[in-house]
């Protein structure tokens, strides 16, 4: 036998152990920290505590949106004993049918095999009675735990649905950005309306803790803890009473919008869009029919018509024409034109809604004479007309604190040249003089114009959330002559108060309303859009209201009553009953809403 041969074998063995040692040096010495991190992560368990979202309140403190608690039933398969018996009892209390029960039993069986799994939710959103039963008779439900969860509720249902807005999933494209801000995958964020606009204020900040398993006794110990922070409540300028009046008086089955502003501040008192939807239906789980209605219905219920789309302005726009003529000295209070039912310019015939005879400017506003304004517009000229339309804020966004505002459209010669490859004709001036042609306006823009007329020329920025109240000094002031304003105001007063005025339906005892009707051609042989825009009280204006009802007919007849309902409610709430005013005063003082301006004005 050969002695060196045993030495060779020993060498081979030593070599193999050397390979093992090198591998260990690589795994433990070089990659050790990486593996250590991975294994540390495995003994940590992160628990989170949800924080409720802030409530949304109307100006009187009524809850328009709030977080309620929902109760989920979770089941810990590992801690449970007599599982079938417990499940049978749960099935009875919750009211599962055979199919539900089979599904739950299958899930429990599956999870029981998974040692890492803590618990599973066997029923979500159960009633209060189920919660109470399980909590009070815990001994009958081993392994069953009731878990609380926040869920968004809208106590007024469909009221001001577009202004309040609803919650939506984080869009996949921006998920990363949101995760960095502390959101979790699957969280809901404000999707539309003020829920979206004030997300930062409303959102609750999740709390949480990290539990680490102690190696010696196997118990979990708190390593780090962060308390949850509830979202802040948000008080809106919206008045639920006025909002309800606007929505309640709106013609059934019609599309359109109602806007009411405090003309002195720009506070939005009413912001309604029709058709609407019940916000509670959009709280997950959303039923299929609801989502289809919202996204696919031809009536476009999701669209906020107060600001998300433009309408032809119709006669409402005559206010701008009057200002343009008066300020350019091409139109005077005494300027008269004779209306024979139509106006001929070139070889085109422009119609009037009636035969008005000889009328001056104030009467032309009162009866809404087209023939008068065709000539007034031509006299003022397109440049002044468009300048004043622009000054009143048409063709650009109002800057309201809500998402997805549209600027409407103000046609200009430059646009026409670029888009239509033709010049600006006098026919275009004639059309825009009665608010037709390519001009598109949003009800919010019209409300802002009416507010400027009412407050003496300040172009306010409408807002819903008190935190977005603009500083008064930053608001632009329209520099028109006080005489021009008085002439226009007189016309607007006569619209409502004189025989033959188009808005006589707006007469309210004790509350003088001034305004302008509009009956805008919708095109395509469809019925006209009905407009009314007005303000009150006439002597010291506080509120302006704009209503538009799509494809419905005459402005004064259809839109007038909607606006009237808002004015009336406002009058009753803030003027008629001094006692009520006292109450309001106390309440306002208590919550510190800046409503003092209203009371001094009253």
């Amino acid at each position: 036998m050969h002695k060196p041969r045993i030495g060779l074998i020993l060498t081979l063995i030593a070599l193999m152990l050397g390979v093992i040692e090198m591998r260990l040096f690589y795994l433990q010495g070089i990659c050790g920290w990486h593996y250590r991190r991975v294994s540390e992560e495995r003994i940590r368990r992160r628990l989170t505590t949800d924080a409720p979202r802030g409530a949304i309140l109307d100006r009187d403190g009524r809850e328009l949106a709030r977080d309620d608690y929902a109760f989920d039933i979770s089941f810990f398969p590992h801690k449970a004993i007599r599982t079938p018996e417990v499940l049978a009892r749960l099935a009875h209390v919750i009211g599962w049918n055979a199919e539900d029960r089979e599904r739950v039993e299958a899930a429990v069986e599956r999870e029981a095999a998974d040692e890492d799994r803590e618990s599973l939710i066997v029923a979500s959103n159960v009633g209060f009675n189920v919660m109470a039963e399980v909590e009070t008779h815990a001994e009958l439900y081993p392994g069953v735990v009731v878990k609380e969860r926040s869920v968004r509720r809208y106590p007024f249902g469909a009221l001001a649905a577009h202004a309040i807005g609803y919650m939506a999933k984080i869009p996949a494209s921006r998920e990363k950005e949101y995760l960095e801000q502390g959101y979790f995958r699957g969280d809901m964020i404000g999707g539309t309306g003020i829920e979206r606009a004030c997300e930062e204020r409303l959102r609750g900040r999740r709390g949480g803790k990290v539990l680490v398993i102690d190696m010696m006794d196997g118990l979990r110990k708190v390593d780090r803890e962060v308390a949850p922070v509830a979202g802040e409540p948000l008080r809106l300028t919206l008045d639920a009473d006025l909002q309800r009046a606007a929505e309640g008086s709106f013609p059934e089955g019609r599309g359109g919008a109602v806007v009411a502003l405090d003309v002195r501040t720009g506070e939005i008192l009413v912001l309604a869009s029709r058709p609407a939807f019940n916000l509670n239906d959009l709280v997950p789980p959303v039923k299929r029919g609801v989502a289809d209605f919202l996204n696919r219905d031809p009536s476009a219920p999701a669209l906020n018509r107060a600001m998300g789309d433009g309408y032809p302005a119709g006669s409402i726009f005559k206010i701008v024409v009057a200002f343009a003529g008066l300020e350019g000295n091409r139109l005077g209070e005494g300027t008269t034109h004779t209306c024979a039912g139509s106006f001929r310019h070139g070889n085109r015939e422009f119609k009037c809604n009636n035969v008005h005879g000889t009328v001056d400017l104030v009467d032309a506003i009162k009866v809404s004479c087209n023939v008068y304004f065709y000539q007034a517009g031509l006299a003022a000229g397109k440049d002044d007309l468009l300048t004043w339309a622009e000054r009143f804020g048409f063709g650009r966004k109002t800057g309201v604190d809500l998402p997805w505002e549209k600027p409407g459209f103000l046609p200009t010669p430059a646009w026409k040249k670029a888009a239509r490859k033709e010049g600006w004709f006098e026919g275009d001036t004639i059309n825009i003089s009665i608010g037709q042609g390519n001009l598109l306006v949003t009800p919010l823009q019209v409300a802002r114009m009416m507010a400027a007329v009412a407050n003496g020329g300040t172009l306010i920025t409408p807002f819903l959330a008190n935190e977005h109240r603009p500083a008064p000094a930053t608001l632009p002031k329209l520099s028109f002559n006080i005489r021009s304003l008085e002439v226009v105001r007189k016309g607007l007063w006569k619209v409502v108060h004189e025989t033959g005025g188009t808005g006589s339906v707006l007469r309210i005892d004790g509350f003088d309303v001034a305004g302008k009707t509009g009956t805008a051609q919708a095109g395509g042989n469809r019925p006209d859009h009905a407009w009314f825009a007005g303000y009150g009280p006439y002597e010291s204006p506080e509120i302006c209201v704009v209503a538009v009802v799509e494809h419905s007919g005459h402005g004064g007849v259809i839109a007038g009553p909607v606006a009237k309902a808002v004015f009336e409610t406002y009058y009753k709430k803030y003027h008629e009953n001094t006692k009520e005013e006292e109450n309001t005063k106390k309440k306002d003082d208590a919550v510190g809403v800046a409503a003092s301006a209203r009371r001094t004005g009253a």
């Binding site: 036998m1 041969r5 063995i13 152990l17 260990l24 433990q28 593996y35 540390e40 006794d217 196997g218």
Partner: protein, 370 residues
């Protein structure tokens, strides 16, 4: 032999073996933490009992005239084959493999006994043929190796079967076979691998090899064990997580951790220092056994000692190799350290053989005494 004198004990061998046993008991205790019950299972105490039994056997065997074993080597071998055949018929199935014979209080694992029987039989055959260095002299030893592998593979127990190959080759080499011949046989074996792969291996065995190549292929299934054990070993780092503080170990994330994967527990809790120390213990043991082989002039004894050396070394390599992803996962224990009666008994048998051979050598005799 003079009955009265105290036995000559090689303390290098016995000392390192007992040190390994002690390491085993400590980490088996750590690995028997039951996280759900928050208490220790009794594996550590049981292992102590096994060690005591092994030591008793060793003390008995050290005076046993081992040459008698040479006479009965083929009888043991045949008996081993008989038990292997029996296990296929009446064997107890654990984890899908039929490896054990139920003997009431203990389970007998015949493939463990077969390791010793194979070493004895090969030594018996090769002891008289040391100068015959022809290719055909290798036929019988190869057959001795190959025949018991078949029922063991059938159990199936790839790991144990795999240790037979280095034992046979190493013993043939020490007995005088030419490296050229052994190389050719090995080449034929490798070439035969292709039909064996497609016909001979069970699907789960193929899966183990496939998963060894890429454990991420099936991280929750067959790759789980490899990933967990890599994580255990790696997270030990240089200094370890501390005794009884390995998270992988204590949270029961590593299956089979007190038996086949005890090395991962040691690595996690003691780090690179601990694993290196363990390897040094094994090196010392192997050096001790190799020195014993060199001191042994009687060919049967020398071949037996060599066989035991290779048996231990290959088990160490395969066992540690599988925890650090150098080898596929096979059910093979770490000698003296892993929990388990059969494994410990086999290890002590090997140790007893080595010590008996040592004890009964007469160092003053010349090398041509036999």
């Amino acid at each position: 032999m003079k009955g009265k004198r105290s036995p000559r004990v090689d303390w290098l061998i016995l000392g390192t073996a007992l040190a390994l046993c002690l390491v085993g008991v400590i980490f088996i205790a750590s690995a028997s933490w039951r996280v759900r019950e928050a208490s220790y299972a009794s594996f550590g105490r049981q292992q102590l009992i096994f060690i005591a039994v092994g030591m008793g056997f060793l003390l008995f065997m050290i005076r046993f005239p081992y040459l008698i074993l040479a006479r009965f080597a083929f009888v043991f071998y045949a008996g081993g084959l008989g038990l292997l055949a029996a296990v296929l018929v009446i064997g107890k199935r654990i984890y899908g493999a039929r490896r054990w014979i139920d003997l009431g209080p203990v389970n007998l694992q015949p493939s463990e006994l077969m390791k010793i029987a194979l070493i004895l039989a090969l030594a018996r055959w090769l002891m008289f043929r040391e100068e015959r260095r022809r290719m055909k002299d290798l036929v019988v030893p190869l057959a001795l190796m190959f025949v018991p592998m078949l029922p063991i593979l059938k159990q199936p127990d790839l790991g144990t079967a795999m240790t037979f190959v280095p034992i046979a080759f190493g013993m043939m080499y020490v007995a005088g076979a030419r490296l050229r011949h052994l190389g050719m046989v090995a080449l034929i074996g490798v070439l035969a691998f292709v039909p064996v792969w497609s016909l001979g291996l069970k699907e789960y065995q193929k899966d183990r090899v496939r998963t060894f190549v890429n454990p991420d292929r099936d991280p929750l299934g067959k790759g789980y064990q490899t990933i967990q054990s890599l994580l255990s070993v790696g997270s030990g780092g240089i200094a370890g997580r501390g005794m009884f503080k390995g998270t992988q170990n204590r949270l029961n994330l590593l299956p089979e951790r007190h038996t086949d994967f005890i090395f991962a527990v040691i690595a996690e809790e003691t780090g690179l220092w601990g694993t290196t120390a363990l390897l040094i213990l094994y090196i010392l043991l192997f050096v001790g056994i190799a020195l014993a082989a060199l001191r042994t002039h009687e060919p049967f004894g020398r071949l037996v000692v060599t066989g035991v050396l290779i048996l231990f070394a290959s088990q160490v390599f395969v066992n540690i190799g599988m925890t650090i992803r150098l080898m596929p996962v096979t059910g093979l224990t770490l000698p003296f350290v892993s929990y388990g009666g059969s494994s410990l008994v086999t290890s002590f048998c090997g140790l007893a053989l080595v010590m008996a051979v040592q004890e009964q050598q007469e160092p003053e005799l010349s090398r041509n005494a036999y």
